[in-house]
Amino acid sequence: MRKVIGVLLIVSFAFFVFTLVMRDLWVEDPTAVRTLGQAAIEETIPQSGAANTVTAIVVQFRGLDTLGEVTVLFLSARADTTAQGGKR
C-alpha cells in the first residue's frame, strides 16, 4: 500500500516536472539567456586575474556567500559535537 502511494506520488511529481517546469525552463540557445554568467566569464581576467572562472566567482565575486557557506559548515560541526553530548 505504501509503495503504491509512493509510486503514485513520484509519477505525479515527474508529470509536474515535465509539463510545467521543463516546458518553461527549456531554451534552445542557453548562451542567449545567461547574462550574469556571461558577465562573470568576461570579467574574470580584468577584475580578478584568475584563470578559472569558477574559483573567481566562488572566492571573489561571491566571497561573502562563501563566508556564509563556511559559517554553515562550522556551525554544523559545532552542532554535531554538541548533540553528541561532549563525547569525543
Partner: protein
Amino acid sequence: MISISAVLYSTSLILILLGLYGVLTRKNLIRVVISLDVVDLGVNIFLVTIGYVRDGRAPIYLADAQTSLADQASRMVDPLPQSLVLTAIVIGFGVTAVALTLLMRLYERKGTVMVSDLRGLKW
C-alpha cells in the same frame, strides 16, 4: 543522436525520483538520509546541466597562443551553476552530518532507527 544534456537531464530526474521514492517508502531512517543524499545529487546534476552549452569547454582560460581569450570565452559553459553546486555540495555534507548525528542520538535514546517503532509523535 541523443544530446548530452538530454541524457543528463533524464539522469538527474531519475535520481530525484528514486530518492523521493526512498524517502517516502523506507522505514529505516538511515536509508531515508541516504535517499536525501540521492535527491541532493540529482539536483546538483540538474543544476550543472542547466549551464551546459553544446560543445562547451570548461570555464578556465588557457595560456596558449593559438586561440584568443575572447574566442575561448565564447565556447565556455555557464560558470554560475557550477559555483552554486560547489557551495551546495558543502552544504549538503553539513546537512547529512547533522542528520546522522541526530539519528545517532535517537538510537541512543530509543534503541531503534525504524520509523514504525517510534511512537513519540503518534496519538
